[in-house]
């Protein structure tokens, strides 16, 4: 504690604060722009920090990572174009909210959920880095595999009206995730001889195509109605649509806490990343909700759940880095270079050799959380105006952004083709009511399950009884089985027809 106060003393200088705010602002803008991810942002900025004081440099880089994670929500909500892949679930409810004229509300909730998730996770990092990290090492491939298989059961809860359609979409997602080099022998799978597919289908162009471009196509066919709607939005400038009510907070409190928990845990576990966290949190919120079928039509908890988990991943993914020197995420891996460059070797020794420096980094991370709140609050009113533009002006702009976003990561036209193909798939999925969420969950988790399963086979020496040496894994396998049985039962007992009818009437009620 003493050290942390000392750390704050070091951070509260004009120049350090300036670089924190700069980092967060740059990150926020990168986050808003689809395709320009936090990884690219941090990587490109490392050389720029050569000339800064170490604390300022690291604070700025962490600020970029934090800011862009929060910024990703803005374009997801306003344009249905996730600025970061991990903001894709934010779009699922954020965008419908924006179309109902509640963009201000959704943006605010997205920001507050981000800041809360980020702040709490940072506190976990500060307080528990050392003890937690040794647990993280206990989670090996066998345990991860069991946890991931368990999380696949979320597909059941997320399928909405038709379990079969949800499962079909989930399996399609898994099928697309198998494209690329097979992990052990590098035999290409489903690449049709195209080298560009060797690394698999990329999440960014796919998500942009399925969510944003498909949405723009649907809207282009609907332009008259939407223009009327937009005009309505323009006129109705109701306070309650811009601001969060006590009711909203009540509804969102649990999802935010749950999301923060999920994000923090996923961040500490190696190799899963922010996308997995935000999807799982969204899924969990939907399962826990009283009327899960309303998700996707503009439920504010959906935004809160996704964003809190998304942002909670960033600080907690530094836990294994700080405590053991192991990068838990792409960001952490990039930050290692920056740390070493500025004289800090991440790992347990760091706390002994450079306690003041560590404290200063912690303090600057807390400051970055608050800077995020300020930058976000100032930026939102500017961005929120987008929702008031007539849709015919927005469509071309969004399509341009989509193309740029898809192109950025690989600098190749191929990604744009991928985007267009998935736009087509997304369009028909929308028309026939197949779930995006289960598709994307299958796509994000599928490869991890495959990899950890293959690793487990080798580590267990192909002997299932060895699972008993992995109690955590065994527990999760049991939970998975129990969940499946419970789900099957509740489905059977549910009287189907009336439930569907009320959902439909409710949906329509919500839209009008």
């Amino acid at each position: 504690m003493q050290a942390l106060i000392g750390g704050f003393a070091e951070v509260f200088t004009f120049s350090t604060m300036f670089w924190i705010v700069t980092g967060v602002t740059v990150g926020y803008i990168l986050g808003v722009l689809p395709g320009l991810g936090k990884a690219t942002g941090v990587a490109v900025s490392i050389p720029l920090t050569f000339y800064l004081h170490p604390v300022a440099a690291i604070a700025m880089l962490i600020g970029i990572a934090k800011g862009s994670t929060a910024g990703g929500a803005v374009s997801a909500i306003l344009l249905n174009t996730p600025g970061e892949p991990s903001s894709a679930p934010t779009a699922l409810d954020g965008y419908p909210l924006a179309r109902q004229g509640k963009a201000g509300k959704a943006l605010k909730m997205g920001l507050y959920a981000s800041v809360i998730g980020d702040l709490l996770s940072t506190i976990v990092l500060i307080g528990l880095a050392a003890p937690l990290a040794s647990y993280a090492l206990l989670i090996g491939p066998v345990e991860l595999c069991a946890i991931l298989v368990f999380s696949l059961t979320f597909i059941g809860g997320l399928s909405g009206k038709s379990l079969i359609k949800g499962l079909i979409a989930g399996c399609l997602g898994i099928a697309f995730s198998t494209v690329g080099l097979e992990i052990e022998t590098f035999i290409p799978r489903l690449t049709f001889g195209m080298l560009e597919l060797d690394d698999g289908v990329k999440l960014v162009p796919m998500a942009i195509g399925m969510l944003a471009v498909a949405e723009m196509i649907v809207q282009a066919g609907n332009i008259r109605k939407l223009d009327a709607e937009t005009a309505e939005i323009g006129k109705s400038n109701r306070r309650e649509d811009r601001n969060l009510s006590l009711e909203d907070w009540k509804v969102c409190a649990m999802p935010i806490i749950r999301g923060t928990f999920i994000g923090t845990v996923i961040g500490i576990l190696p190799g899963l990343g922010a996308s997995v966290a935000s999807f799982l949190s969204y899924g969990a919120a939907r399962r826990a909700a009283d009327r899960p079928e309303e998700f996707g039509t503009g439920r504010i908890e959906g935004v809160a759940a996704a964003e809190s988990a998304d942002n909670a991943v960033i600080p907690s993914s530094l836990v294994p880095l700080f405590a053991l020197g192991i990068p838990g995420s792409v960001i952490a891996a990039i930050l290692i270079a920056a740390f070493v460059l500025h004289g800090l070797t991440p790992g347990p020794l760091m706390f002994k050799e450079n306690p003041t420096m560590v404290a200063a980094v912690y303090a600057s991370m807390l400051c970055a959380s608050l800077a995020m709140l300020v930058v976000g609050s100032l930026g939102q009113p500017i961005f929120a105006r987008i929702a008031r533009f007539p849709i015919r002006l927005i469509i071309p702009g969004v399509l341009l952004l989509c193309c740029v976003g898809a192109y950025m990561e690989t600098s190749s036209l191929f990604s744009i083709y991928i985007m267009l193909i998935f736009a087509l798939i997304g369009f028909f999925a929308k028309k026939f009511d197949y779930s995006f969420v289960t598709f994307l969950i299958g796509f994000v988790i599928g490869p991890q399950v495959e990899l950890t399963f293959r690793q487990s086979l080798q580590l267990l020496n192909h002997d299932p009884t060895r699972l008993l040496q992995h109690p955590i894994a065994a527990v999760f396998i049991v939970i998975t089985l129990v969940t499946l049985v419970l789900m099957a039962r509740s489905r059977r007992n549910q009287p189907e027809a009336p439930g569907v009818a009320t959902t439909k009437s409710l949906n329509q009620g919500g839209e009008i």
């Binding site: 990884a39 690219t40 941090v42 990587a43 490109v44 490392i46 050389p47 050569f50 090492l137 206990l138 090996g140 491939p141 080099l181 992990i183 052990e184 022998t185 590098f186 035999i187 290409p188 001889g193 080298l195 560009e196 060797d198 690394d199 190696p270 190799g271 053991l324 020197g325 192991i326 990068p327 838990g328 792409v330 891996a333 990039i334 290692i336 270079a337 070493v340 460059l341 070797t345 790992g347 990561e409 690989t410 600098s411 190749s412 990899l451 293959r454 690793q455 080798q458 580590l459 020496n461």
Partner: protein, 317 residues
């Protein structure tokens, strides 16, 4: 007859080339240069490339735009390079494994050293076989003795190349290994520190963990700067050492004068302070080779690696 005609033709081409090119090469570069990198932004090679780009642009007086074209370990980027004009304004900074290793692993890749011009290498990768520091063996020979007593041990492999090493060692010593696939260097570190695997192939990242990870053998022909006492795998009676270097390549037919300029500018990285800082942070040694040496190195390693993969029975997939 044909030979003579061909020689004449070559002479004619050379003559026109000589007449036309010096003027081009003399004021090279007079506009920004694009530098492709075949890995994602933020990786080790990308960091080194960005550091080198800074030095090159200071030396050549033109901005250098680093463009990441990831895919298939650099093959996508190298193909893009091949299609680019050979005017020296599109170059690539990459690991030379894309040419001297990838063709032996991937059926759809047929690069040969003379499909590109080589502008010199600046760093080398320090790959090795690594184990947890508290493991009961200290070098490869001791490991083999231990492994005979402990069959079905887990070995971490990042690539088919890493599998090939274990398969060769196992074949020679009659070992039974479980090869665990790993996805990234970070995951490899986790597997070693968490004692999930008893040995793994590291591309060099292990050097950041000197207290927790030890190296049993290098996979290079040279000794590593950060662990000079560790012997090469070849010293243990195998012939499997393969060197990988990072440097500049350009489309075939790029003017040798331009390549010489790039090579000379690259040499300045050796003494540049911020470049030294970057590579030291990543534990990568600076080992400079000029354009001519790089070309010879490519010819030699291409033949050697091909032989290693062939005798190990590795088929391109």
């Amino acid at each position: 007859m044909t030979l003579k005609r061909r020689a004449l033709l070559a002479l004619a081409v050379a003559a026109t080339g000589l007449a036309a090119l010096p003027a081009l090469a003399q004021d090279y570069p007079n506009k920004p240069i694009t530098m492709l990198v075949g890995y994602n932004a933020g990786g080790q090679t990308d960091l080194v490339a960005r550091g080198a780009a800074q030095v090159l642009s200071q030396e050549l007086g033109q901005p250098i735009n680093v463009v990441n074209v990831p895919g298939a370990g650099g093959v996508v980027s190298a193909k893009k390079l091949q299609e680019s004009p050979n005017d020296g304004y599109t170059i690539m900074f990459h690991a030379n494994s894309v040419v001297n290793s990838a063709p032996f692993l991937m059926k759809r890749v047929d690069f040969k050293p003379d499909d590109f011009e080589w502008g010199g290498f600046i760093t080398a990768y320090q790959g090795g076989l690594v184990a947890p520091a508290d493991a009961p063996y200290n070098d490869l020979a001791e490991f083999v003795a231990w492994a005979k007593e402990n069959p079905n041990f887990a070995y971490g492999a990042l690539s088919p190349e890493a599998r090939m090493y274990m398969n060769e060692i196992a074949k020679k010593n009659d070992l039974k290994a479980n090869i665990v696939p790993l996805n990234s260097g970070g995951e490899m570190i986790n597997a070693i520190l968490g004692h999930q695997v008893v040995m793994a192939l590291s591309g060099g990242i292990h050097a950041k963990y000197p207290d927790q990870i030890k190296m049993l053998a290098t996979l290079t022909t040279f000794r590593h700067s950060n662990a000079p006492e560790v012997k090469s795998i070849d010293d243990f009676g195998y012939s499997l050492a393969m060197d990988t270097r990072a440097g500049i390549m350009a489309p075939k037919g790029t003017d040798p004068a331009i390549m010489a300029k790039l090579s000379a500018a690259l040499a300045k990285c050796e003494t540049d302070e911020s470049f030294q800082k970057i590579v030291a942070a990543a534990n990568i040694p600076i080992i400079y080779m000029d354009a001519a040496a790089a070309k010879a190195e490519m010819e030699a390693t291409f033949a050697k690696n091909g032989e290693i993969y062939k005798s190990a029975g590795v088929e391109p997939q």
